[in-house]
Subunit: 227 residues, 2 copies
DNA sequence: CCAAAAGTGTTAGGAGTACACCCATGT
DNA sequence: ACATGGGTGTACTCCTAACACTTTTGG
């Protein structure tokens, strides 16, 4: 298999949002070291693929998931971070709209699951994966506030209320809903659709779509998204 | 020498500030590939040293410099970024107060020099080092505005005017000096010393010192440095 | 006395924040 | 009718940004 990089891996922390909570993808380890602990999905980098490509391939193979967003996080290099042999890990974090994807298992990852983020930190995590997860969560929190990445955790069509709940869940604090709504709408990056929610009690909500094309255009002109 | 990682390097982009301009450390290459081009200082990672340690060691060995500040930037992994063989590079950026350090050459780096940043971008740069430099400059500009790292480019004792000029140089734009001064002083993180400048025309300036201990304390309580 | 750099206040406009009620709908 | 979630306006405060003259010093 891979020969050039027998000691460099990519590890990915994949965030999803459902049931009004943030979740991360964890794999239960069936072998030592750290048997029965949980670990982030990861793989060795193969010849002729970039680290980004390796993450996409690995997630596809091991879990069947296709990310909406992927970003390199940090490279972890402590000589003793793996007890067997020295391994350098290039860590990534990714975002996914979990509602229309099916989680598969594979030969390597027989037990893969979405774990609510607070629960995940309580689990026994292999290697330095707790540290990586913490780093990723901080990056997600920061980035959510000055780049429109929250939309990558939601379906294509969503309500302001869903977006609001997502922000509260990630930042783990309450926000003022009126101020939030005003701010988000002031960017004029949400396209109002003709749909409305239904099928549940309460007033029907307007359904929006994020205008990515317009955002990319504005960004070039120096526009700043900031919640 | 190193056996575990024959294809992982660290590259460092070191910034310094003097003559009212930002400079970066470049090495002129004496060998192919990219003979006579300029490159960032770099080295292979040795067994039993972290990437951070490798950067400190490499800079000490090749240039004799001791950094005030070092931060991991990004890991570059494109399979063809080195024409000879596949190499992954963990890039760092560092800050240094160049005024009291002497630049040495070494066997590997016979021509090492500080190059003014705009001039540096005009040079022929080896590998993907232009891309790395651009990435580093953007990070420096961002970080300067919400963390007090500018002080690491200045001597221990400095005037508000020097700090102001540094900010203008890094951000490459004019700022309002009165607003800048008010903002900086409002943090109460500059300790006024009993010294004053002298030896040149113009009014003598107060000399300050950055109160790092107090900053670290405030940061824990949730203080936010932001220019 | 002149050139150079330091130092210093005020104001107007915009952004952020805090706050509470009515509306539409399904059960 | 009532419970649930959606939608909206105002006032106050604080921060930002714009702006120019006086002071001190060395030459």
């Amino acid at each position: 298999m891979n020969n050039k990089f027998p000691n460099i891996t990519v590890d990915a922390i994949v965030f999803s949002y459902f049931n009004e909570k943030i979740h991360v993808l964890l794999i239960k380890r069936n072998f030592d070291p750290f048997k029965d602990n949980y670990a982030l999905p990861g793989a060795f980098i193969k010849d002729n693929e970039s680290a980004d490509d390796a993450v996409y391939r690995m997630l596809k193979d091991e879990t069947g998931l296709n990310l909406e967003y992927l970003e390199q996080l940090y490279t972890f290099t402590k000589p003793d971070r793996d007890p067997r042999q020295r391994i350098i890990s290039i860590a990534y974090y990714g975002l996914i709209n979990a509602t229309n994807q099916v989680l598969k298992t594979s030969q390597h990852a027989t037990e893969v699951s979405w774990v609510e983020i607070k629960e995940a930190f309580k689990r026994n995590l292999a290697f330095d994966h707790k540290e990586i997860m913490l780093y990723a969560l901080q990056r997600l929190r920061n980035k959510l506030q000055y780049e429109p990445i929250g939309f990558d955790l939601l379906p294509e069509y969503f309500t302001i209320g869903e977006l609001y709940n997502l922000y509260c869940a990630v930042l783990d604090k309450g926000l003022d809903r009126r101020n939030f709504t005003r701010k988000i709408l002031s960017f004029e990056l949400l396209k109002e659709t003709s749909f409305k929610t239904g099928g549940h009690v309460g007033r029907k909500a307007k359904i929006y779509e994020f205008d990515k094309i317009n955002y990319d255009r504005l960004k070039k002109v120096g526009f700043n998204f900031e919640i």
